[in-house]
Symmetry: C2
Subunit: 368 residues, 2 copies
């Protein structure tokens, strides 16, 4: 059977290895496997959310309230935005996908950093759009502006802070670029500000903080993405959101599948958003534990990218090889992310709990 | 901002009213509201599934095993199919969406029954494809064949049994049509057999039963869709699946978003599939209770469509008006589906529990 021509250029996505697969492949005990490959919250899900899920388990047969007003109204209060300025997705991934389907065609160009979140390119390829990447791996906004002027892309993705590298451009720089893009595209280029790790960046350095309300007050052509998968500890529940002016939100709503998150995800996200204590604990511990990885790298002379997220990226040099190191760790039940598929000799490690990090650092001590 | 031209032709989907909204609008007590509008399982979720969700609630932070091998291997055994012949979706809706994105373009034609599941047309409009409907509202396979020959559609949707009408074409007829379509399209027309309610149809009348394994052994251009939302009682968990030969499944996998169902949905579906007792209880009670609606309609001289599903459709005549009846019921806290938006004066009622049905029939007694 013939399928649409775009499919010929798409490789099936390979997610980070789940614990279940490592247990199967290497015959390990599930309890001994540490997964620090997908930037999940190592402190799990907050106790109040776990209670909420248990209390609502009997509602699994019922479709969610498709207006999702319980969650949207909480996000509205949280960010001080209007009701029609928010859309919920099955992870912020789904909002990325909706942006591409709403705005891009196979004749579109999509601009992004040299190394950034893989789904931007994957969803662009679904459409058959052309992907333009900056020569720099990390976000270089001068290069972004030059390529914007040269190519007039339909969509620009800024990952602030950036996954999988961890660096973060400042809010002021972002606003300057946005002002140029809005003016020079006459508001026609959609800019996606992916704030999946913004809570971490804002905690570490307030100059990196992007306020969605202020952002969309200034710019009509911008959408901010947030997620419950990281600091809120709901990776497995698949809830994210987009914040933009009504015109953009309404366009995305047209393409949204009904009931796009589960009944329990909706209930869980409402509780998670209000559990400030759990979030603050996560943020504080994250950066305290990250310091251990930085000190390790410094002691070994390994280059690392200062991180504004819940992971750290070690950039390796000969004779160290990221594939060899990841594979060796894997056999010991430690799953980290090999960035070889991004074209760099580097590994990305999610900052785990104190105990997890001790095991990782002990294992790394033997390898580098 | 300009968006893709297809969006101009898309109206935002309105799902059936959730209990929460009726409670808000009419100031009713949540416990008094009966929702028989979305064909959820009135017996809820099986106790074994509720236990599974509670036991796994603490895993909400972790992304699901994206290979979904736990569920796929169970479906493989359940249906006797090969491992590469199954793909999991966030509801079978998502598989419908993937089929359209993989096979259709804006120059495609998509063939379906006069009145059938709304998402076929909605997802076709997302692509900008042309929708062809049979003149008959119910499935008339002679008309399907004539329109197939005339239009050479890229995709044909058969809803077996059909939602929202409830009728069901026989398996033998379906196979005859499929043989013609495969031969005359040289295997290029994708036929989607939507079996969302197949368990109900098979239980009532074995001549309606479509066996996915046999189906895909016979036909290379067919995909069978199943769901956990109906008889398995997991509507709120968003899990469905597609079964087809490897070539089709691989194409859909290329467009599937990673982690497209939640960690708890994956665990819940595995348990639900094996709880035969709960399913059997649901099926038995469904048709016993349906008989009450049939008897009521017969006693009142109301036309109904003999149903092979978990709902029944009453076709009304003047002076009865579906919108008036639905609205009156709604004010009493009874939510049923008004089919006026499908262009017919009819209401669709999900078969509820004995107690729920007694309340609905008592209320209807006053109205017709």
């Amino acid at each position: 059977m013939r399928f649409n021509e775009e499919l010929a250029h798409i490789a099936t996505y390979q997610a980070g290895k789940p614990i279940e697969e490592v247990v199967r492949t290497f015959g390990l005990d599930e309890k001994e496997v540490i997964k620090l490959a997908s930037n999940e919250n190592p402190y799990g899900t907050s106790p109040s959310v776990v209670e909420c899920i248990k209390a609502n388990a009997h509602k699994a047969a019922l479709y969610p309230d498709d207006s999702m007003c319980a969650l949207i109204s909480r996000l509205q209060r949280h960010y001080g935005i209007g009701y029609g300025q928010c859309i919920i997705g099955a992870g912020s991934d789904q909002i990325i996908e909706l942006c591409l389907h709403a705005k891009a065609t196979k004749s579109s160009k999509i601009l992004m950093a040299g190394i950034t979140f893989a789904m931007y390119e994957i969803y662009a390829k679904h459409i058959g759009a052309q992907v333009i990447k900056t020569p720099s791996k990390e976000h270089n906004l001068t290069e972004f502006y030059e390529l914007f002027r040269q190519h007039k892309p339909d969509i620009v993705f800024l990952c602030v802070p950036n996954n999988p590298l961890g660096e973060c451009v400042g809010a002021k720089e972002v606003y300057e670029l946005l002002a140029h893009i809005e003016q020079e595209s006459c508001g026609e280029t959609l800019v996606v500000i992916d704030g999946a790790y913004q809570e971490f960046a804002s905690y570490k350095d307030s100059s990196k903080h992007i306020d969605p309300r202020d952002l969309i007050q200034h710019f009509a052509n911008v959408i901010y993405l947030g997620t419950f998968s990281k600091v809120y500890g709901l990776g497995g529940m698949r809830v994210g959101y987009g914040i933009a002016r009504e015109e953009i939100v309404q366009a995305l709503f047209k393409l949204r599948a009904p009931f796009n998150i589960t009944t329990l995800s909706l209930a869980a996200a409402c509780v998670a958003l209000e559990d400030i204590e759990f979030m603050q604990h996560t943020l504080k511990e994250n950066f305290a534990q990250m310091r251990r990885y930085e000190e390790f790298a410094e002691s070994k002379g390994i280059e690392y990218i200062p991180s504004y997220t819940n992971f750290i990226t070690f950039v390796l040099e000969n004779p160290y090889n990221s594939s060899v190191i990841c594979d060796t760790l894997l056999r010991q039940g430690i799953i980290v992310r090999n960035l070889a598929s991004y074209g760099i000799n580097a590994i990305r490690i999610t900052i785990g709990t104190q105990e997890q990090n001790s095991r990782v650092l002990l294992a790394l001590q033997e390898l580098v």
